[in-house]
C-alpha cells in the first residue's frame, strides 16, 4: 500500500499532508520543482530510500555519500550520452 502511495505521489507530484486548498499556481510550481529535482538527480537518494530494494530487511541501506558514488559508477559504465 505504501508503494502505491509513493507511486501516486510520483504521478501526481503532490507532497503528502498538504491541504488541498493550495492555489493552483503553487501546486504547479511544486510539481515543476519536484520534476526538476527528479530530472537532474537531486532527489535520487530520497527515491532510493523509498525503493523496495532499500526498504527490504536484508539490504544494507547506503549513506548519501555511498549512494552517490555507487549510482554514478553504475550510470557511467554504460552508454548514457549519445551522439
Amino acid at each position: 500500500m505504501a508503494r502505491i502511495t509513493a507511486h501516486a505521489e510520483i504521478k501526481a507530484g503532490a507532497a503528502p499532508g498538504r491541504p488541498a486548498s493550495h492555489s493552483r499556481l503553487s501546486r504547479i510550481l511544486r510539481i515543476a520543482w519536484r520534476a526538476l529535482r527528479d530530472w537532474c538527480g537531486d532527489a535520487a537518494y530520497e527515491q532510493y530510500l523509498r525503493s523496495r530494494g532499500a526498504r527490504s530487511a536484508s539490504a544494507h541501506t547506503l549513506t548519501p555519500a555511498e549512494f552517490y558514488v555507487e549510482q554514478l559508477n553504475r550510470r557511467y559504465s554504460r552508454p548514457n550520452r549519445c551522439c
Binding site: A8, K11, L72, Y76
Partner: protein
C-alpha cells in the same frame, strides 16, 4: 460531436502542416521566413505522433499497461527506479540529444535547405522514432536487456558478438569525429579555449562539493557551476584581449588534439565523481537552456532563410564534404533523423525506469521527434546566414584559399556573393581573429545562434559574448560525450580483453584501467589526429564514416526489432520496421561503396590514396612533404578497410537474420521468444487513469 471536433482539429493541423511544407518546397527565388520551417515540422510531428505512433502502439506492439515493467519488478532505487513519464522523457531526451543533430544538419545545408529539412522530418517520423520506440518496447519486455544481449538471444550468438564489435567501432569513430569538431572550433581561438579549459577546474570543484560537502545535492551544485561557467565566458574576452594570456590559450590543431586526448584519458581513469559526472551535470543544464533559448529566439526573431532550397553542390562537388545528395545527405544528417546510438539508450537506462508500457510511446517516439526538431532548428540557424559566409566558414583552405580575399573570390565564383570585408568584419564582431576554414559545423552554427540571440537580447555589441556562449555550449556537451564515451569504451575494451586475459576484465584493477583507457584513447586519438592533419579539414574524411557507422548500427537495431516482431507473429505489419531497415541498408551500403571505390579522389578513399601515390611516383611532391603524404596514403587506405569491415559485419548479421526469418515464415522452426514472463502490475488499481490524470 466531440469526435467530430477532434477529427476537424486534426485535419486542420494536417492541412496547416501540408501548406507549410508546400511553402518550403515550392518557393523559388523569394526569401522564406523561418517560421514556415517551425510550422511544417511541428504539424508533421503532431500528426505523426497522433496517428502513426498510436498505430504502432496499438496494432504492432499491443502495449499492455497491466503488465509490470522492470522498474516495478526489480525496484532497487539504483538501476530500476519507477519514474514519472515526463521526468523520464527529460532524462531520455537529455541522453539522446548530442552534437549530431546540431552538426549534421549544419553540414548538410551545403545541398540547400530542402533535402535536409525533408529528411529530418520524414526520417524521424518513419525511421528514427520507430527504431527508438520499438527497441525500447523490446527491452522493457526483456527486463531492460541491452541491444547486444537481445541480438545474441533473438538473432544468434554471432549476431550478438557482431553488435558488440560494431558498437565499439562506432564509438571509436564517433569520439574521433566529435573531438575533431571541438578542435576546429577552438583552433587559434584563445577566448573559446580559455572558456572550455575553465570548465575543468569548475567541474572538479563541483565534484569535490558533491562528494564531500553535500553528497548528491546536484541542483545547488549545478546552479553554482553554471554561474561560474557563464562568468568564464565573459572572462574569456579579457583573456583574448591580454597579450600574454591570449598567447597561452592560442593553440594549434595538433596541440589541441593532444590536450583533448590527455583530458579524455584522465576523465576515463579518474574516479567518475571527480570530473566526468559534475561536467555532465553542467552540460545537461546548459544544453537544455541553450536549446530552449534557440527555439524561443527563432520564434521571436523569425529570421529569413537566405540559403536556396537546392545548391549546385547536389552534384557531389561540395566544399564542406564531397558526395552526391544520395546517399550523402542522409548519411550526413545522421542523428537528427535516425541514430543507431539511440538504440543503446533505449535498451539501457530508460527501460529500467519506465513506469508502464504505455509510456514508451511518449518517451521512445516523442523524444526522438523533439531531437528531430533540434535538427530543424540547427538547419534554420545555418540557412539564415548569408550562404557566402556559410561556405567561407565551413570550407577548407585547400578549396577556398586561406585568406579572406581568396575565399571571397572563390565563393563568389560559385554564385554566392561574398566580400573579404564581410568576413573580416564578422570575425571582429564575434571577437575572433578569423572565421575562415573552420570546418566542422560548430563555428557556423555558433555564428547563426549568436545572430539569433543578439537580435533577441543585447544587439550587435553582445554578438561576441553570444558567439562564445554558443561555442562553449557546443564544446561543453561534446566533451561530455567524449569523456563519457571514452569511459564506456574503456569498459568494452576491458570486457573484450577479459575474454583473452581474465585480470584485464576486472573493473577495479588499476593496471587494467590504465591500459584499457590508453587503448580506447589511442584508437580514437589516431583517427582524430588523421582528421586534424587532413588537407581537406578532416570533416570531409571522418563525418561520412561516422554517419555510415551510426546508420549501420541503426540497421542492426532494426534487424533485431524485425526478428522479434516476426517471432511475435506480427508478419502482416512487419513493414513498419522492415522498410526503414531496407532503406538504411541501401543508403549505407551505397555510401560505403562510394567512400571506398568512387573514382573521384575527393569521394573515394582508395582513389585519393592512389592519386597521392601517383603524385609521389611522378615526383610532384616536395621532399619535405613525402613523409606526410605517405601517412595520408596509409590513413586513406586504413579508413577504406574500416568502412569495408563495418559494412561486412552488418551484412553477416543481416544474412543470419534473414535465415531466421525464413525459418519462421516457413514454420520449419518454432520461434523462441525470450520475453520475461507476464506478471500483472501491483499498481493495477491505479490504471483507471482518472485518479492520476494519466495521458
Amino acid at each position: 460531436m466531440r469526435r467530430f471536433f477532434s477529427i476537424t482539429a486534426w485535419a486542420g493541423v494536417a492541412l496547416l502542416g501540408a501548406s507549410a511544407l508546400g511553402a518550403i518546397a515550392l518557393r523559388r527565388g523569394e526569401t522564406l521566413n523561418a517560421i514556415w520551417f517551425v510550422i511544417a515540422a511541428l504539424c508533421s510531428y503532431l500528426v505523426a505522433y497522433r496517428l502513426y505512433s498510436a498505430f504502432i502502439a496499438a496494432r504492432l506492439l499491443s502495449l499492455d499497461d497491466t503488465r509490470a515493467t522492470p522498474s516495478e519488478r526489480h525496484d532497487d532505487g539504483c538501476d530500476f527506479v519507477p519514474t514519472n513519464k515526463w521526468v523520464l522523457f527529460g532524462h531520455h531526451f537529455a541522453a539522446i540529444a548530442g552534437p549530431g543533430p546540431l552538426v549534421g544538419p549544419t553540414l548538410a545545408a551545403q545541398f540547400g535547405y530542402l533535402p535536409g529539412t525533408l529528411w529530418l522530418i520524414a526520417g524521424a517520423a518513419f525511421a528514427g522514432c520507430v527504431q527508438d520506440f520499438v527497441i525500447l518496447f523490446c527491452s522493457i519486455r526483456r527486463d531492460g536487456k541491452s541491444l547486444g544481449q537481445m541480438a545474441r538471444e533473438e538473432v544468434s550468438e554471432r549476431g550478438g558478438f557482431i553488435a558488440q564489435l560494431a558498437v565499439l567501432a562506432i564509438m571509436v569513430i564517433l569520439l574521433a569525429v566529435v573531438a575533431l569538431v571541438i578542435v576546429n572550433a577552438l583552433k587559434s581561438s584563445p577566448w573559446a579555449t580559455f572558456t572550455l579549459a575553465m570548465t575543468i577546474p569548475i567541474a572538479i570543484l563541483l565534484g569535490l562539493y558533491l562528494r564531500f560537502v553535500r553528497p548528491g545535492r546536484v541542483l545547488e551544485a549545478s546552479i553554482m557551476g553554471v554561474a561560474l561557467v557563464l562568468f568564464s565566458v565573459v572572462a574569456g574576452q579579457w583573456v583574448a584581449n591580454s597579450h600574454s594570456w591570449s598567447h597561452l590559450f592560442t593553440l594549434s590543431g595538433i596541440a589541441l588534439t593532444f590536450a583533448i586526448i590527455i583530458y579524455a584519458f584522465s576523465a576515463s581513469a579518474l574516479p567518475v565523481w571527480l570530473l566526468l559526472a559534475p561536467r555532465d551535470y553542467l552540460s545537461a543544464f546548459i544544453k537544455a537552456g541553450a536549446i530552449f533559448s534557440l527555439a524561443a529566439g527563432i520564434l521571436f526573431v523569425r529570421p529569413q532563410v537566405l540559403m536556396p532550397p537546392f545548391t549546385r553542390f547536389i552534384d557531389g562537388t561540395g566544399p564542406v564534404f564531397s558526395g552526391k545528395i544520395f546517399p550523402f545527405c542522409f548519411i550526413t544528417i545522421a542523428c537528427g533523423a535516425i541514430s543507431g546510438f539511440h538504440s543503446l539508450i533505449s535498451s539501457g537506462t530508460t527501460p529500467k525506469m519506465i513506469l508502464r508500457e504505455g509510456h514508451a510511446r511518449l518517451i521512445g517516439y516523442g523524444a526522438m521527434l523533439l531531437e528531430s526538431f533540434v535538427g530543424v532548428m540547427a538547419m534554420v540557424a545555418a540557412c539564415a546566414m548569408t550562404p557566402g559566409v556559410y561556405f567561407a566558414i565551413n570550407s577548407p583552405a585547400s578549396i577556398v584559399g586561406a585568406t579572406a580575399d581568396a575565399a571571397a573570390t572563390t565563393i563568389s565564383g560559385w554564385g554566392f556573393p561574398l566580400s573579404a570585408q564581410t568576413m573580416n568584419d564578422l570575425a571582429r564582431s564575434v571577437g575572433e581573429q578569423t572565421l575562415l576554414n573552420r570546418a566542422g559545423g560548430a563555428p557556423s552554427l555558433a555564428v547563426g545562434m549568436a545572430q539569433i540571440f543578439s537580435n533577441t537580447i543585447g544587439g550587435a555589441h553582445l554578438l561576441s559574448i553570444w558567439y562564445h556562449f554558443a561555442i562553449m555550449f557546443e564544446a561543453l556537451f561534446i566533451l561530455t560525450v567524449l569523456d563519457a564515451g571514452t569511459r564506456v569504451g574503456r569498459f568494452m575494451v576491458q570486457e573484450l580483453g577479459g575474454r583473452i586475459w581474465k585480470p584485464f576484465g576486472r573493473r577495479g584493477w588499476m593496471p587494467g584501467i590504465l591500459m584499457s583507457s590508453a587503448v580506447i584513447v589511442g584508437l580514437w586519438g589516431y583517427f582524430l589526429y588523421q582528421g586534424v592533419i587532413d588537407p581537406l579539414g578532416g570533416i570531409n574524411l571522418l563525418w561520412p564514416i561516422f554517419g555510415i557507422s551510426n546508420q549501420l548500427l541503426a540497421a542492426v537495431a532494426l534487424v533485431v526489432a524485425t526478428t522479434i516482431l516476426l517471432k511475435m507473429g506480427r508478419t502482416r505489419l512487419i513493414w513498419v520496421t522492415l522498410v526503414p531497415m531496407a532503406s538504411l541498408v541501401t543508403i549505407t551500403m551505397t555510401a560505403s561503396y562510394a567512400k571506398i571505390f568512387d573514382p573521384s579522389p575527393r569521394i573515394g578513399l582508395l582513389a585519393n590514396a592512389n592519386a597521392l601515390a601517383a603524385q609521389i611516383a611522378a615526383g610532384t611532391i616536395p621532399a619535405a612533404k613525402l613523409g606526410e603524404t605517405h601517412r595520408l596514403i596509409f590513413n586513406q587506405r586504413l579508413d577504406a578497410v574500416v568502412t569495408a569491415v563495418l559494412a561486412l559485419m552488418i551484412l553477416v548479421l543481416i544474412v543470419e537474420a534473414i535465415a531466421q526469418w525464413y525459418s519462421i515464415l516457413r514454420r520449419s522452426r518454432e520461434p523462441i521468444l525470450h520475453e520475461s514472463p507476464y506478471i500483472a502490475t501491483r499498481w493495477a488499481e491505479d490504471f483507471s487513469g482518472a485518479a492520476h490524470g494519466d495521458d
